[in-house]
C-alpha cells in the first residue's frame, strides 16, 4: 500500500516516515504543501492507499486538500495530523471527507496502532 505524507515540517515528515518504516511500511511519498500533494495524487498511475495530512500548510491547507483529494479518491482513508488548537477545524474536515485525526505530538506506537488498524480493515 502506498502512503502519501503531506506536512510542511521536515521533522514531522521524518517522524511519520520513521514510524511507518518501523512498522514495515516503506512505500511512501512525501509532499511539503497542499498544492504539490494534489499534483502527486493527480499524476497518472498514482494510487495511494492512505493519506496523512497536516492541517496548516503553505499554498493549500489540509482542509482544502481533503476536499480536493475526495474528488479524486473517495475511498482511501485520510488521517489529519492536528494540534490541540486545530481541533475545532476537525468537524469541517470530517464533513469534507477526512476519516479522522491524530493529535500532534503523538508517540510512534499509537500512530502505528492507528495505521495498522486501517490496514487490517482493508
Amino acid at each position: 500500500m502506498k502512503i502519501l505524507i503531506v506536512d510542511d515540517s521536515a521533522v514531522v515528515r521524518t517522524v511519520v516516515t520513521q514510524a511507518l518504516g518501523m512498522a514495515g511500511y516503506t512505500d511512501l511519498a512525501e509532499a511539503v504543501d497542499g498544492v504539490s500533494a494534489l499534483e502527486m495524487a493527480q499524476a497518472p498511475g498514482a494510487a495511494f492507499g492512505l493519506y496523512i495530512l497536516d492541517v496548516n500548510m503553505p499554498r493549500m491547507d489540509g482542509i482544502t486538500l481533503v476536499a480536493e483529494l475526495r474528488k479524486l479518491d473517495p475511498r482511501s482513508p485520510i488521517i489529519m495530523l492536528t494540534t490541540e488548537t486545530d481541533k475545532a477545524k476537525m468537524t469541517l474536515a470530517k464533513e469534507l471527507g477526512a476519516t479522522g485525526w491524530i493529535v500532534k505530538p503523538f508517540d510512534a506506537e499509537k500512530f502505528i496502532g492507528v495505521v495498522k488498524l486501517f490496514v487490517k480493515k482493508e
Binding site: M80, T91, K94, T99, G100, K110, F111, G113, L117, K121
Partner: protein, 719 residues
C-alpha cells in the same frame, strides 16, 4: 480494594471508560477502543460471560468502523451504553454506614442481616493458606500492639507510625487474596487512619491510640474465629455473621472522614495531572464500582502510581506550606541544646557580676562562650530558613533536556552538590538567571554534533551544574565543554552596537570583555535563535543577581568551553557590609560590590562645569558620587578623604566618604515607615556599641545619583 469479580470485570470497565472518552474522529482513541474490545473477546473468561454480554461485545467489535461514520456514530455509542449497565458490579454494594455522595443510593432491599448476600461467598477454602493468614495476622497484631505502646510515649517517630501502618496494610491485602472481605475491610479502615497519622493530618492522642488498640483486638477476634472453626468456611461464616463489623468500621471511617476531607481528585486536578473531564469520568466509574478514586485513575493509566502517592500525601495535609517552615528534628534538638548552654552561660555571667573577686580572666572566658553560643544560634536559625537547591536543579534538568531537543543537540548533564542549601528568598531570585545561563550554554555554548566532531570532540556535549559553599556565600556554576566565548566577536559586536569605541575595545582585558556580555541588550549570536529569544541578554542575569547582592563571573577558553559562576550570599538577612562614615553617620555598602579604595591626591580630582567630580587614577576617569549630598547632609567640604570604588552593571563609580570602619557582618533590619521614604536604603542596622547605620541599596543609590547628575548637567547647560 481488590475486585472479586476477577479480570474480566476490569476489562469491561476499562472498555467502558475508553468508550466514554471517545471524541468524533479521534483515531488514536479508536485504536484504543479496538484493543479494549479485543481484550474482552480474547479473554479466556469471555466464553463464560452471560450470552447477552458476549453478543453485545461482539456486535460492538464488528461495527467499530461505524464510529467514524457521521450517521452511525451515535447508534454505536447507544449500543455501547448498554455495556455500562452490564459492567456494573455484580457484588452488592459495600456495607458502608456513611452516606455515599452518590445521588442514586444503592437499591439493595432492606435486610435484617448484618451482611449483604454473597458477602462471604468468596472465601477460599484452603486450610493451609487460612492457617498461614492467621499466623500472619497474629504476628502483625503483636508488633502493632508493642509499637502502639511506644507511640504513647513518642508520638512523632515516623518509623513507629510506619510499622503500625504496614501491619494493617499487609493484613488487608492478604485477607483480600483469601476472600475474607470482613477482615480486609476492617484492616483497610484502620490502615486509612494510619495514613492520616503518618502524613501528619491526624494528631496522635490517647483516644486515637485506644481506637487502634480496639482495631487490633477486632482483627485478633476475627482470626480467632477462623482458627476455632478449624478452617471450615461454613463454620467460620456462621460465627462471622454474629459480629456487627459495620458498627466498628463506621467508627474507623468516621475518624478518617473527619480528618481526611479533601478529595483525591481535587488534589490531582490542582496539580494538573488530571483534567476536569477525567475527574468526572472517574467519579462516574466510582459511583458504579465503589473503587477508590486513585485506584481507578492508576488502573486507567491516567496517572502513575507515584503521582498518586504524592497526591495521597498531599491529601493528608501539608497544604499550608507558605506559612510554615519544616525544621528537622536534628536542628531543633541542636537549638534546644544551645539554649541550654545559654542558660548556663547566663548564670555564669550573673555569678561573675555578683562576685567582686571575679578575675578578669573568668569574665573573658564567660564572654567568649557567649559569643560562640550566639554564633551557633545565628547559624542554626538561619539554616532553618534554608531549602536545598535540588528543586531548582530538577527544573534545570528539564530546561536543558527541552532546549537540547529544540536545538537538535545531545547533551549529558551532571549536577553536583544538590544538597546545598540556600535562603528561600535567594532561591526565588536565582532560578531565572540559571535558566538563562543553561539555555545559553545549550544553545550557544555546545556546538552541533557535526561541529563537535570537526573540532575533535565527542558528539555528546557536557554541561555541569554545581553548587558549593564557599565561606559566607554559595557558588553556583554552569560549565560546558562547548566552543567557548569568542572575544573578538564580542568586541566586534560591542563596537558595532556602539557600546565601546574601537580604541576602548583594543585596551580591554579578558574580564572586561566578558563583562560586556552582561550589558543590556547585548547578544553575541548573529542569528537570533528561537531558544534564547530576542533582545534578552545576559543583562537579565546580572540584574537578578544584583538584587540579591550576588556576583556573576565568566570564564572561558575558546574551543574548550565556558563557565558561568554565580556567587550568592548565603542569606539576605545578613550581609557582608562595608562600613563607612560620612559626617559621623555610618553607611553600609554591600561588600561584594567594592572594587577598591582610593585615597585621592587633591590633583586627581577634576570638577566639571556640571558640578560632577571625576577621579583620575592610573589612566582611568571614574565619576564620583558625593554621597553626602544624596543623603541630605548639609553642604560642606565636598572632597572627602577617601573614595570607595564600586562596580555596578559594568560601570565603576567612586563614592566619597570620610572614613572606613571596615568589613563587618551586618544584620539588616527593616526601616520603619517614616524612614522608608529614604529611597536609597534597603534597611538599617544596630552596631555592637548601640549606634545605628543605614544599609545602602546600591541599585536605588545609583539611580538617585544618576538623576542628580542629569539635573545638574541640565543646570550647567542652561547657565
Amino acid at each position: 480494594m481488590k475486585r472479586h469479580t476477577g479480570g474480566f470485570a476490569s476489562r469491561l470497565l476499562s472498555l467502558n471508560t475508553e468508550i466514554s472518552r471517545w471524541q468524533s474522529g479521534d483515531l488514536v482513541q479508536l485504536s484504543v477502543i479496538e484493543q479494549a474490545l479485543a481484550g474482552c473477546t480474547d479473554d479466556p473468561g469471555f466464553g463464560a460471560r452471560p450470552p447477552a454480554e458476549q453478543e453485545l461485545v461482539i456486535r460492538l467489535k464488528n461495527s467499530l468502523w461505524d464510529l467514524l461514520d457521521v450517521e452511525k456514530e451515535t447508534p454505536w455509542l447507544g449500543l455501547a451504553a448498554q455495556l455500562g449497565a452490564l459492567s456494573a458490579p455484580r457484588l452488592p454494594p459495600e456495607t458502608n454506614p456513611a452516606p455515599l455522595p452518590s445521588p442514586n443510593p444503592p437499591e439493595a432491599p432492606p435486610s435484617t442481616d448484618l451482611y449483604p448476600p454473597g458477602y462471604f461467598d468468596h472465601i477460599i477454602q484452603d486450610p493451609k493458606m487460612l492457617g498461614q493468614l492467621c499466623d500472619e495476622v497474629k504476628e502483625h497484631m503483636d508488633i502493632a500492639q508493642f509499637t502502639l505502646v511506644d507511640l504513647e510515649f513518642d508520638s512523632t517517630n515516623p518509623e513507629t507510625i510506619n510499622k503500625i501502618f504496614r501491619a494493617f496494610h499487609t493484613i488487608k491485602s492478604s485477607a483480600a487474596f483469601l476472600g475474607l472481605k470482613n477482615l480486609e475491610e476492617a484492616a483497610h479502615a484502620i490502615e486509612d487512619i494510619m495514613v492520616l497519622v503518618r502524613d501528619g493530618a491526624l494528631p496522635i492522642d490517647k483516644d486515637l491510640i485506644n481506637v487502634i488498640f480496639y482495631g487490633v483486638g477486632l482483627l485478633k477476634d476475627l482470626v480467632g474465629i477462623i482458627e476455632m472453626s478449624d478452617f471450615q468456611v461454613e463454620v467460620m461464616v456462621e460465627s462471622f455473621r454474629h459480629i456487627d463489623l459495620a458498627r466498628s468500621i463506621a467508627i474507623f471511617k468516621k475518624i478518617h472522614k473527619d480528618h481526611g476531607n479533601r478529595k483525591i481528585g481535587q488534589i490531582l486536578q490542582e496539580s494538573g495531572q488530571l483534567d476536569q473531564s477525567m475527574v468526572t469520568l472517574i467519579l462516574d466509574q466510582q459511583k458504579r464500582t465503589n473503587q477508590k478514586f486513585g485506584e481507578i485513575a492508576v488502573e486507567q493509566n491516567l496517572i502513575s502510581e507515584d503521582d498518586l502517592k504524592v497526591s495521597l500525601r498531599k491529601q493528608g495535609g501539608g497544604t499550608k506550606r507558605s506559612s510554615f517552615v519544616k525544621v528537622s528534628n536534628e536542628r531543633l534538638n541542636s537549638l534546644i541544646d544551645i539554649v541550654g548552654e545559654l542558660v548556663v552561660n547566663q548564670s555564669m555571667l550573673r555569678q561573675y557580676l555578683l562576685n567582686p573577686e571575679s578575675s578578669r580572666e573568668t569574665g573573658d572566658r564567660t564572654f567568649s562562650q557567649l559569643e560562640s553560643i550566639t554564633t551557633n544560634i545565628k547559624n542554626l536559625v538561619l539554616s532553618m530558613g534554608m531549602v536545598p537547591i535540588t528543586e531548582i536543579f530538577n527544573k534545570l534538568r528539564v530546561v536543558i533536556r527541552n532546549t537540547a531537543a529544540e536545538t537538535g543537540k545531545t547533551i549529558s548533564v551532571e549536577f553536583r552538590g544538590d544538597d546545598t542549601e540556600l535562603d528561600r528568598n535567594v532561591i526565588e531570585n536565582i532560578y531565572d538567571p540559571l535558566v538563562h545561563i543553561v539555555r545559553n550554554a545549550v544553545d550557544h555554548g555546545i556546538e552541533g554534533p557535526q561541529d563537535r566532531k570537526a573540532a575533535g570532540k565527542t558528539s555528546v556535549g557536557t554541561i555541569v551544574v554545581a553548587a558549593e559553599h564557599k565561606g559566607n556565600s554559595i557558588e553556583i556554576s554552569v560549565s560546558d565543554d562547548g566552543r567557548g566565548i569568542d572575544q573578538k566577536a564580542v568586541l566586534a559586536k560591542a563596537v558595532a552596537n556602539g557600546l565601546v569605541t574601537p580604541a576602548q575595545a583594543a585596551a580591554m582585558s579578558e574580564r572586561e570583555v566578558y563583562a560586556l556580555l552582561m550589558l543590556p541588550g547585548f547578544s553575541t549570536k548573529e542569528v537570533v535563535t528561537e531558544v534564547s529569544g530576542r533582545g534578552v541578554g545576559m543583562d537579565v542575569v546580572q540584574q537578578n543577581v544584583d538584587l540579591i547582592h550576588g556576583k556573576v563571573e565568566i570564564h572561558s577558553q575558546p574551543g574548550a568551553g565556558s563557565k558561568f559562576v554565580l556567587r550568592i550570599p548565603l542569606t539576605l538577612a545578613i550581609i557582608d557590609g562595608f562600613v563607612t562614615v560620612i559626617d559621623d553617620i555610618k553607611y553600609i555598602f554591600p561588600f561584594n560590590l567594592i572594587e577598591e579604595i582610593i585615597v585621592p591626591e587633591p590633583t586627581a580630582l577634576t570638577r566639571l562645569d556640571s558640578g560632577q567630580f571625576l577621579l583620575f587614577d592610573r589612566g582611568v576617569y571614574t565619576p564620583i558620587i558625593v554621597a553626602a549630598d544624596l543623603f541630605g547632609h548639609p553642604a560642606s567640604d565636598q572632597t572627602r578623604k577617601l573614595v570607595i570604588v564600586i562596580s555596578y552593571e559594568g560601570s565603576r563609580y567612586g563614592i566619597a566618604v570620610d572614613a572606613i570602619l571596615g568589613k563587618q557582618e551586618i544584620v539588616i533590619k527593616t526601616l520603619n515607615e517614616a524612614l522608608e521614604s529614604l529611597q536609597a536604603f534597603s534597611g538599617g542596622t544596630i552596631f555592637g556599641d548601640g549606634s545605628i547605620g543605614f544599609v545602602v541599596d546600591i541599585e536605588k543609590f545609583i539611580l538617585a545619583a544618576r538623576g542628580e547628575t542629569t539635573r545638574e548637567q541640565d543646570k550647567g547647560r542652561a547657565s
